[in-house]
């Protein structure tokens, strides 16, 4: 199949179907409601399950129930909705069930706005819900990349028995770009009989399965959390992804940026190159696990004097950038947090100011 022109939200819905996930529960919220609208028509064609829940809280538990009986399942929402789902997400990570959550971010806090934002970095990467847990967080910078990450997310969720989050800003959901759905990314069914509550007859088992999150014995809870920690450490070894831009030669300043914002930075870097100023960029594609080593190595280049973290929020990823740079270079923040995407000219001006 060739390329088709699709809106990001619809492409995300189609990508899930192409990956082999036919179960979707959701609650409408701008700017991602087109996913539900698309799937309300599309899933019945495939014999799949579409249900609009009564709230994001309920949806997160519909996801939990379905995932816990071993079925592939996903939902999509936007920032305030993800806040409500965060309770369920905490339980799903604790119960070690695979599921995919898509957050098409809008501005906050509170109702904030409906324009693109990256203000849920901390919520996605550092927790959001209660307890010690991590999500594997993938951050697409184009509609095509959103499709690929969506298709890969199910395999990753099942590999780790942990929810995966696709974190896109509102532009990723709203813009139209040509996309294709690689057949190779179709996810094969995996056997979940070891743990799923799919009915004893289904798995011809003498043992019942139990999906729970309560561990009243402190030693048992401690070892349960250590087991989860080991999975997050494995993600840090095996799943880190980033893209490097203009870092092969010498550069004076290193930008760290992700999602739509990183595409604006690419244009700024090209324009600055034409003016004779070399700027490199590391674009995290996974926000957890974070590409610490790539950022450390790029910042450590003798030519690099300063690091600039560009994000569409008040500066959340900058803490992880600072940790990665480990004090070798000064780290500055630039961004906007009202829903506007900074222009290439604005990024260029900031770069010139920061290079000193």
């Amino acid at each position: 199949m060739g390329k088709v022109l699709m809106k990001g939200n619809e492409a995300i819905g189609e990508a899930a179907i192409r990956a082999g996930c036919l179960n979707y529960f959701a609650y409408p919220i701008t700017p991602q409601s087109e996913v539900a609208e698309y799937l309300a028509r599309r899933l019945p064609e495939e014999g799949g399950v579409f249900l609009q829940g009564e709230s994001e809280v309920a949806v997160s538990y519909m996801i939990f129930g379905a995932a816990a009986c071993g079925e592939r399942v996903f939902t999509t929402s936007s920032s305030p909705g993800i806040s409500l789902m965060s309770e369920g997400i905490s339980y799903i990570t604790a119960a070690q069930c695979p599921a995919v959550f898509v957050n098409i971010m809008r501005g906050g806090p509170g109702l904030g706005g409906i324009l693109p934002s990256q203000a849920d970095y901390n919520q996605s990467v550092k927790g959001g819900g209660h307890g010690d847990y991590k999500l594997l967080v993938l951050a697409p910078a184009s509609v095509q990349e959103a499709v690929q990450m969506m298709m890969e997310a199910f395999a990753l969720a099942e590999k780790y028995r942990n929810p995966v989050m696709i974190l896109g800003d509102g532009l990723i959901g709203q813009m139209m770009e040509p996309v294709e759905f690689p057949e190779a990314l179709k996810v094969k069914p995996t056997n979940k009989d070891q743990w799923a509550t799919n009915g004893m007859d289904t798995r011809k088992s003498k043992q019942r399965n139990l999906v729970k999150t309560l561990y009243l014995d402190p030693e048992e809870l401690n070892s349960h959390n250590l087991k989860l920690k080991a999975k997050y450490e494995q993600m840090e070894r095996e799943e880190v992804r980033h893209e490097a831009y203009n870092v092969d030669g010498d550069f004076e300043l290193l930008i760290v940026s992700y999602g739509t914002m990183s595409r604006v930075c690419c244009t700024a870097i090209d324009n600055l190159k034409a003016e004779g100023l070399e700027v490199g960029m590391i674009r995290p594609q996974t926000l957890f696990p974070f590409p610490k080593a790539a950022i450390y190595n790029a910042a450590a280049k003798p030519s690099c004097r300063v690091v600039l973290c560009v994000e569409m929020c008040m500066g959340q990823m900058i803490e992880d950038v600072e940790r990665s740079v480990s004090g070798q270079r000064p780290v500055h923040w630039y961004g906007k947090c009202g829903g506007e995407v900074p222009t290439p000219e604005e990024v260029m001006e900031e770069v010139k100011k920061r290079r000193g």
Partner: protein, 253 residues
Amino acid sequence: MGKTFQKPEALSDTITHYCPGCTHGVAHRLVAEVIDELGIRRRTVGIAPVGCAVLMYNYFTFDFQEAAHGRAPAMATGIKRVRPDLVVFTYQGDGDLASIGMSEIVHAANRGEKFTVIFINNAVYGMTGGQMAPTTLPDQRTTTSPFGRKISDTGMPVKMSELLAALQTPAYITRQTLLSPKYINRAKKAIKQAFSYQIENKCFSFVELVSTCPTNWGMTPLNAIKWAEEKMLSYFPLGVFKTPEEKERSTNL
């Protein structure tokens, strides 16, 4: 001579953690007997609530999920939608179902989700230590209504069966109790009817069981039964509030 009485296969050999005089044990046994009689144990998934019954999966021998507080009906929805061949039930107390989980239960009932709810109404939060519930009776003392529940402050107790029966979607809604053998026999019939409707893919089914909590009521088990019969059954009348057949008749009018 063969055995005339034995433990249901659906029940395990675990020693109870429930207090003396608590009716959870009776309710558990009735559910287990019905599951045995219907031959559905190997395709049943139970959903445990938050409350005294959070560990109820220890007493059963089939698949179980453990919910967050109030969310069991949403989890049951998730399971039934993706695996309609499984038999699913939630087991929830009054704090779980009528307070924090009010939204989930009402919407699951209104969608006509094909699972069964066992609702234990003992007019108090048990596990957290006897706080006021939405079903706590007027003037009833609890740890958070130490001078008795004041209606002017907190409204009247919620009648869940009547509330759910008011929805227009066909359903089986009944209130029973576990206070004596004659009631227990009727409760078992209701539970069996509820599971049967589910198996026939007919409707949402809901069995409220008026129960006792001697520990948090501060009564002996016998006095608790007496108090429940006098005070609770007059406010929470027993009966069948709705059947799918009745609904069919009324919509045909």
